[in-house]
């Protein structure tokens, strides 16, 4: 299970380092809206999805790419956590 603060830190660090173009948005709050502030657009969101896939080993379905799941660092973490848990449940039921 991913640790709560660790996940927030990893996601926030990645977005702050790789995706934020506007220095005024730094340091990035976990509740800062990422879509309205322009931090995430279609292509930067793809970068984030590829990072999440590689870092946490979860597949992000394109149908899951809706604003609610990527509105802020908190929302992203909630989504990632839910995906990790559902993957673990599936693995458990298979085992």
């Amino acid at each position: 299970m991913l640790e709560v603060t660790h996940l927030e830190t990893v996601i926030n660090d990645y977005i702050s380092r790789e995706l934020v173009q506007e220095p005024a948005l730094l340091p990035l709050g976990n509740a800062t809206p990422l879509l309205e502030t322009g931090v995430l657009d279609s292509l930067t969101l793809l970068r984030l999805v590829l990072f999440v896939r590689e870092r946490f080993g979860i597949m992000v379905d394109d149908v899951d790419v809706v604003p609610e799941h990527f509105a802020s660092v908190d929302a992203i973490c909630a989504y990632v956590r839910a995906r990790v848990e559902s993957s673990a449940d599936q693995a458990g039921s298979r085992g």
């Binding site: 279609s42 292509l43 969101l45 790419v65």
Partner: protein
């Protein structure tokens, strides 16, 4: 009094144009497409010549835009001839779309595909392929043809972007009926439409490429207001234009190769050549890599400039940066693909 009469004549002219447009797409083109190709495309050329003759405003706008953008290489007579070819090409597009019926066999017989081996080699790499095209001639039907011969094609593009008369639901439904619906039958997945706020577009495209399928994208689209900040300046048609380099970013993030594709109508109007290039190198700065794509689109357009769909649309040419901003000349309501 004179002004009232002029307004009445103008709105009557607008109604007539619309009626002709509806009749052509709903009845004439579907019937003509059933004729032998020589006759079918002759009918389209007649319709193009009729539009060229009677739509004086749109004709003047097209000639003016051609001369302003291609000023160094175009005399007045040649601009007139090119404008007539433009109207003919737009009418031929309707016949092409109608000939997509079934497995598009009747259109396939008229289109020679060159460079298919490049697409096969790209897909053998297992990361899908991005086909990048200018809005040239029957580019949409060309994508359909590739799907019809076995390539799983999905398009990134906005279906309604050309509707300058606004998204009235009746007009939108009409356009879907005569045009969009026929194209979507030849797509692997629904169109990926990059409207503002649709943040899932690139992820959807990545899913297509991850499945080792083909994504098509026209990279000479004028940027929407919401996207202007992402546009970069490139040399295009001899001028500095602002275009979106999304194709390069998508290719770099997914590892998918970018191949340029263009379709050209031959002088007999019924035969076409669809050319697929080897992969474009994606090295260097984004502007450098995208510059290679733009250079290829530029070269394709210059091969047959009349086939570029934007000549009749001053607003779009201004958005590109190809024409200086000027007060609107009261342009007719028109769909960009169907002058």
């Amino acid at each position: 009094m004179g002004k009232t009469a002029a307004n009445a004549a103008s709105s009557a002219g607008g109604l007539l144009r619309r009626a002709e447009f509806v009749a052509y797409w709903l009845a004439v083109a579907p019937l003509a497409a059933c004729l032998p190709p020589r006759l079918a495309y002759r009918v389209a050329c007649w319709r193009g010549d009729w539009s060229f003759r009677y739509r004086a405003g749109k004709r003047a706008e097209t000639v003016r835009n051609l001369r302003q953008v291609l000023c160094d290489e175009l005399g007045p007579d040649e601009a007139e001839r090119m404008a007539r070819d433009f109207f003919r090409m737009m009418a031929c597009v309707a016949i092409d779309v109608m000939r997509l019926r079934g497995r598009a066999r009747s259109l396939r017989k008229l289109v020679e595909i060159r460079g298919r081996e490049h697409l096969d080699a790209a897909l053998a790499g297992g990361r899908g392929a991005i086909l990048c095209s200018p809005h040239l001639g029957s580019y949409d039907s060309a994508f359909c043809l590739l799907h019809a011969i076995g390539y799983p094609v999905t398009t990134i593009g906005r279906n309604a972007v050309g509707l300058k008369w606004g998204p009235s639901s009746a007009e939108q439904r009409f356009w879907n009926l005569v045009y969009t619906r026929r194209l979507l039958r030849h797509r692997q997945r629904p169109n990926i439409e990059p409207w503002p706020g649709r943040v899932q577009v690139a992820v959807q495209a990545e899913a297509v490429l991850r499945a080792n399928e083909v994504v098509t994208i026209c990279s000479d689209a004028p940027p929407l207001d919401a996207d202007r900040a992402r546009a970069i300046e490139v040399t295009f048609l001899g001028r500095r234009a602002r275009l979106l380099p999304g194709v390069v970013t998508l290719a770099r993030l997914t590892g998918a190769p970018v191949l340029m594709i263009s379709v050209h109508r031959l002088a007999d109007y019924r035969h076409q050549v669809l050319e697929i290039s080897p992969p474009v190198p994606m090295g260097g700065e984004t502007a450098t890599a995208f510059g290679r794509c733009v250079a290829a689109m530029d070269a394709a357009i210059r091969t047959r400039p009349a086939d570029w769909v934007y000549w009749a649309d001053t607003d779009h040419l201004v958005t590109f940066g190809l024409l200086p901003a000027a007060p609107s000349a009261g342009t007719e309501q028109i769909y960009v693909h169907s002058a």
